[in-house]
């Protein structure tokens, strides 16, 4: 998928665990884990807003777009 979720890096920078983020944002650890591992298919703006408030970041810090490399030939 072309959208990369940099939740791991942000948690490391903020010295926060996934459990703590889950408790503060009000989203289950399972769902946050899905988000972190790229299994999530969509994210609500309300969720994005809640995560950014807790992690003191911008959506662009959390999400980035990567272009998949075309195979040679």
């Amino acid at each position: 998928m072309g959208i990369e979720v940099r939740l791991d890096r942000l948690l490391l920078d903020r010295k926060m665990t996934l459990t703590e983020l889950s408790n503060r944002v009000g989203i289950t650890q399972a769902n946050l884990s899905n988000l972190k591992t790229g299994k999530a298919r969509a994210i609500r703006f309300t969720t994005l807003d809640a995560i950014c408030k807790v992690l003191h970041c911008q959506p662009g810090d959390l999400l980035s777009h990567t272009t998949e490399q075309e195979p040679p030939g």
Binding site: I27, N31, L32, N34, L35, K39, A40, R41, A42, I43, R44, T47
Partner: protein, 198 residues
Amino acid sequence: MSTTNRLPKILQRLTEVGIGVTALVAIVFLLAAVFTDSALETPMEFTPAEDTYSLTSEAWGTGTIHDAVGVARFTERSATLVALSTAKILAYAAASLVLLVLLRNTLKTLSAGTPFVDANVDRIRAIGILIPVFGFLIQGLHWATSLVAMDTVAAEGLHIEASLTLNLTYLFIGLVIVALAEVFRYGSHLQTDADLTI
């Protein structure tokens, strides 16, 4: 618990009772067919000899019975008749049990609030395919019985017929249910999207 949530549970329990009752009745009928001296019955198609059975009605005028389907009862049990009766009991029981189990498992997920799963797509499609298959199988067994009866049974005033008329209602019901399975497939896709929307 709301009324809408209670109905799937009630239906699930009813199918579970149905599974038990069907199994029990099938065992009783099988034992009776094979091990007892009880009379054996089999459906049969008859055509009355010409003008044997006439009808009169003030409103409808006169007529004759052209075709009839009845049940013949035999007190002397031939091996062929026992075999055909046993085959029909097994066919009815197998069809009922398989369909009831598929339905019960589908209703379980509905009771749990998760009906739109891939397993239900497969179950509902299986029900849609099995209804015409079992329906035609059982009609085929009735036809086979009538075919045997034509050669072995004499009935005064009646001709025994053996016509294989496939009831297409089973096919139409099956098609509707297979179409419903595709609706559930789309529902499963939407459910997955919803579940993975954080």
